[in-house]
């Protein structure tokens, strides 16, 4: 590795960490193609690096978000039971549907969700609808609004079902479950966008942790590339959390909807 490639990789990590921490995603959608195309890395090494990056984004972002109570920790832990179960039974789904068919189904789903998010945002004049008659209450200070946002979680069973599905397909398709969980938390359960992204960011590290050791034991983790990317991602995550505090929720929703469109196109092309 040269000093130039080290700096490019570090910057790539910063960008991934910033976007990932802001939107509650692992950033694999961006990091894997970046590593494969720019660094000519074999796919398995790129995925292994991306998984470490997910853990870095989640750990650094959640450490800050937990302090500010943006993470709904009880909801996060509850949904983790569903995502980990989904991941365990990933093989069952693989027996019924090919990866090709799955990728096309979920690309369509992401496209639909993206349009729903944009439509709802426009219909509600960029204001979020908060429900106070649900369970697992949460509250956090929204710096962009300058007020404390209090909310509850609606339709927990439906959210658990989506999380199960997210865990199930994330392993099969190599995409982070956050891309499904954030819209589900926001649209189905009425969780404010900032609470949804922070809770998703908190969860993705645990989902990635088990598979990280598998890739490690198979020798796919390059220490130079892994460390450089992880350090970049750690720095980017701190930046991403700070940015997400300043950005208005409706702007966050727009950015998320655009990322969904990009991920959808990527899945179609896969």
């Amino acid at each position: 590795m040269t000093l130039t490639s080290f700096l490019i990789l570090l910057l790539g990590g910063v960008a991934t960490g910033t976007i990932g921490a802001m939107l509650g995603l692992g950033g694999g959608v961006f990091l894997i193609p970046f590593l494969v195309i720019v660094f000519n890395l074999p796919m398995h090494q790129a995925i292994a690096t991306s998984i470490v990056a997910v853990i870095a984004t989640s750990s650094a972002g959640a450490a800050m978000n937990l302090e500010r109570q943006t993470v709904n920790i009880r909801l996060g832990m509850l949904l983790e039971t569903a995502t980990v179960t989904g991941a365990v039974f990933g093989g069952v789904t693989a027996n019924y549907l090919s990866n090709y068919v799955l990728a096309k189904i979920f690309a369509t789903l992401l496209l639909i969700v993206s349009f729903i998010m944009i439509r709802r945002n426009r219909r509600n004049n960029n204001e979020e609808t908060i429900h106070l008659d649900g369970v697992l209450p949460g509250s956090f200070k929204d710096d962009a609004k300058g007020e404390v946002v209090t909310y509850t979680v609606k339709r927990v069973p439906a959210l658990m079902a989506v999380s199960l599905l997210a865990g199930n397909i994330s392993g099969l398709l190599g995409v982070g479950g956050g891309i499904f969980k954030v819209p589900a938390m926001h649209i189905i359960s009425g969780i404010p966008m900032k609470g949804a992204t922070a809770t998703s960011n908190f969860m993705i590290g645990v989902t990635a942790a088990a598979s990280a050791f598998i890739y490690f034991s198979h020798g796919h983790l390059n220490p130079l590339i892994g460390s450089t990317a992880a350090l970049g991602v750690l720095g980017g995550s701190f930046l991403g959390v700070r940015l997400s505090r300043k950005v208005k929720s409706n702007v966050l929703t727009w950015i998320f909807a655009i990322v969904l469109l990009v991920a959808s196109v990527q899945l179609y092309l896969k």
Partner: protein, 119 residues
């Protein structure tokens, strides 16, 4: 004794910070050492086993590659530490329902790890 509010959030945040700073620090030391050798370090064909990594650490041979691997492994262990800390935090808050939920997550995580490594 009454615990301050949001004990579980504060403990969990602390465990994550601990993992991030220690692993990040080790990766920085490893990368700086590698950079001082113009990144001309020989990389092993396979990743070390956890046992081999610990043996290297305790024998005092902390070369750049071992230091970076150690940082990466500690980062990968951070989510496990976070689940255990959350479990302890919920227990301290006497929220038994979420003690059980955390325990389920932890056992599933360990189960998935063991199953995947040995299948």
């Amino acid at each position: 004794m009454t615990l301050p509010a949001h004990t579980v959030e504060r403990w969990t945040s602390l465990s994550l910070k601990l993992g991030v700073w220690i692993s990040g620090g080790l990766m920085v030391i490893g990368l700086v050492s590698a950079a001082l050798q113009s990144f001309a370090i020989s990389l092993p064909k396979d990743n070390p086993t956890l046992g081999a990594l610990l043996r290297n650490v305790f024998s005092g041979s902390l070369d750049p590659v071992t230091t970076m691997f150690l940082g990466l492994v500690l980062l990968m262990l951070t989510p496990f530490l976070r689940v255990i800390t959350a479990l302890a935090g919920f227990a301290a808050e006497k929220d038994w329902k979420f003690v059980v939920v955390s325990l389920i997550v932890f056992l599933m995580l360990i189960g998935e790890l063991v199953y995947s490594l040995y299948r």
